[in-house]
């Protein structure tokens, strides 16, 4: 069986692997959506369709020893960072095979072997934690970086402000990545936020900042690489605003009817899969046939996997009582 770290390592320097992973995410979210609609997934789900380039740009730039604190919308970043579709879907379905043993659910992904800290379902929850991880790296004199990944809506919460200020004043090796998909739940960003270019908020902390095209994996990598270099060399944090779009509704059954006509269609022209396909064909790394094959294979494989996960064991009753406190060491 492939491990998370193997899946992660497969991405470095391999644009085709990155593309395949993007397809995997896209197909994966289709399954999640279908399963949710069919009632086989409890609670809620937050899809990241349309935001695959950002996830892969991050995963193929960070090292597995860097850490990332994400949100309830983390299927894509989890798969990108290396978690297996099995462990992600298992978690979403509450199976013992899930990355959290089935007690976390769709909003709670985690795999420390590839640097994914437990994702938080609280807006802003992960930002000070990423800064804190970076503080540890600074104190430990390691070269790792911390990353906080969060939405546009999250830039209005107090923790955002405090985290950026703290990171700036302590010059922490942390990168704040705002996935600006223009919506927070059902509210368009302009209804809740008086400025459009969120990255400019970094000025309040004298922090370097940039906007990047979140639909283009190369743009993501380029911007992030610069920020990572800055952080690793002791020059402190960066705020990156990735302009993306949420192709699906916010969560669960949301049909996103509040979106203006044509907005989705416009963004779909910049579908990250499409852009990557064009790029890879142009660079002669893939052909249309190969692309079709990747898609159909992925669909078949994930379909088969989904059937398997459905049959996976449920967690034991003891799982409910485990991992609350750290077990006492047997000897010192």
């Amino acid at each position: 069986m492939t491990t998370s770290i193997e899946r992660r390592n497969a991405l470095y320097g391999n644009d085709v692997a990155c593309y395949e992973r993007m397809v995997e995410i896209r197909e994966f979210e289709k399954i999640t959506n279908a399963f949710f609609a069919a009632g086989s997934i409890r609670g809620t789900t937050h899809l990241a369709v349309g935001q695959e380039a950002l996830a892969l740009g991050i995963a193929s730039t960070l090292k597995p020893t860097d850490v990332l604190a994400g949100t309830y919308r983390s299927h894509a970043i989890a798969l990108a960072l290396g978690l297996t579709p099995h462990s992600v879907l298992g978690e979403i379905m509450g199976k013992a095979t899930g990355c959290c043993g089935g007690v976390g659910g769709s909003m709670h992904m985690c795999d420390t072997s590839v640097g994914l800290l437990p994702t938080s379902a609280i807006i802003g929850g992960g930002m000070p934690i990423a800064a804190g991880a970076a503080l540890a790296f600074q104190v430990q004199k390691s070269k790792n970086v911390g990353v906080a990944l969060f939405g546009d809506g999250a830039t209005n919460i107090g923790a955002f402000h405090e985290s950026l200020n703290l990171a700036a004043i302590w010059k922490l090796p942390v990168i704040f990545i705002c996935d600006n998909n223009i919506y927070g739940e059902y509210s368009r960003i302009d209804k809740t936020t008086p400025i459009e270019d969120l990255h400019n908020r970094a000025e309040s902390y004298a922090m370097p900042h940039m906007a990047i095209d979140g639909m283009d994996i190369h743009a993501v990598r380029k911007g992030l690489a610069e920020a990572v270099e800055c952080a690793r060399s002791g020059n402190g944090p960066t705020f990156i605003e990735a302009k993306t779009y949420r192709f699906s509704g916010h969560s669960r059954a949301d049909q996103a009817l509040y979106r203006p006509d044509g907005e989705l269609a416009m963004w779909q022209k910049r579908d990250p899969l499409l852009l990557t396909e064009q790029d890879l064909i142009a660079r002669k790394l893939l052909t249309q046939e190969k692309i079709d094959l990747i898609k159909s294979t992925t669909e078949i494989e994930l379909g088969a996997l989904a059937k398997q996960v459905e049959k996976d064991p449920e967690p034991e009753l003891s799982a409910m009582f485990s991992n609350i406190y750290t077990p006492k060491k047997v000897s010192k």
Partner: protein
């Protein structure tokens, strides 16, 4: 009487208050145009317009605090905290500002604000979106906290909360939003007053929110004669009703959807034990969730909050033995 879902009863209470009193305004995340993620403000924006009905940024501290300030100036703001956990980023404004404003203004200012928040487990939202968290508001003079158990109480308590001159937190059991019940609109509850779901002679059962329904099922299946007290207000709770009932029955069980250690039920048991020591025929005790985070998995989550089977088992125990029964996880010897 009209049959409606709990969430519709909430809408009705909001609308009735907004019609009756133009100082009532409401705001929260996605409560206006989207009509609330749980559809608890359906039609409100349309009827009352954008001056009084507002979507907020994701800023619980900011908008909860804004409600405090607006209330000081005479409005009656109702804010929605989508999941009660989100007050973890804004508790200060509730406990340290709102609850102390009257005291710190030498009685010149009241804070007639209402905080509505969905609470509780059972829907697969995971451990950061499924707690009840009543204890965050305990030991906070100046605050009131209520929790409905059905459509009628959802309506009546919310109207009472909005009319109340002091800050009131309304914890709405999320699991009940879709449940139907008969509602007499216009009926307003009295905050601080418990309601008797069933009356009986052998035992007093005190519960809150959805646990009232669980307890009622248990009483039925155990076939016992019980006073089932729907507490409705947790702070300040109805000592009079509870004490009178236990005086009569001599037995007390509190059924609570929160981890054992330090939940609101301990307050009831402790008070009854102190006040009615010699009237008690058997050990008063709580039936609670285990001391664990709320698990996501459906099978596990179904065992998290007290079930009617388990409550029935413990009721029977209380009627036949003087000592308290063990919780299910001890009985079953769940390995850790």
């Amino acid at each position: 009487m009209t049959a409606m879902r709990v969430r519709q009863a909430i809408v009705a209470a909001l609308a009735d208050e907004m019609r009756a009193d133009e100082s009532v305004i409401i705001f929260g995340e996605d409560i206006a145009e989207a009509e609330g993620v749980f559809k608890t403000s359906e039609g409100i924006l349309e009827e009352f317009g954008p001056l009084r009905v507002r979507d907020t940024p994701i800023s619980e501290m900011g908008f909860t605090g804004a409600a405090v300030g607006a209330a000081m100036m005479g409005l009656k703001p109702v804010v929605e905290i989508m999941f009660i956990e989100f007050l973890g980023v804004a508790l200060d404004q509730v406990v340290t500002e709102a609850a102390k404003t009257r005291y710190l203004s030498h009685g010149t200012l009241s804070v007639p604000m209402t905080i509505r928040a969905s609470a509780g487990s059972g829907l697969g939202f995971g451990c950061q979106h499924s707690q009840t968290l009543e204890h965050w508001f305990a030991s906070t003079p100046g605050l009131k906290v209520v929790m409905p158990s059905d459509a009628q109480s959802a309506y009546s308590l919310l109207r009472a909360a909005i009319q109340d001159p002091d800050p009131v937190v309304v914890l709405e059991p999320r699991i009940l939003y879709a449940e139907r019940g008969e509602v007499e609109t216009g009926k307003i509850a009295e905050i601080g007053k418990a309601s008797m779901r069933t009356t009986g002679s052998d035992i007093t059962i005190v519960a809150l929110g959805h646990m009232v329904n669980i307890a009622q099922d248990a009483i039925q299946s155990a076939g016992v004669s019980a006073d089932l007290i729907d507490l409705q207000t947790i702070i300040p709770w109805d000592r009079e009703t509870v004490l009178a009932s236990v005086k009569k029955t001599g037995r007390l069980i509190v059924v609570e959807e929160a981890p054992l250690s330090g939940g609101w039920g301990s307050e009831i048991v402790a008070t009854v034990s102190a006040q009615l020591f010699s009237s008690l025929k058997s050990a008063p005790f709580r039936i609670t969730t285990p001391d664990v985070p709320v698990p996501f998995n459906g099978g596990l989550e179904a065992r998290y909050a007290p079930t009617s089977d388990d409550v029935a088992r413990q009721i029977k125990h209380a009627l036949s033995q003087s000592g308290a029964p063990e919780p299910w996880w001890v009985v079953e010897g769940v390995p850790r």
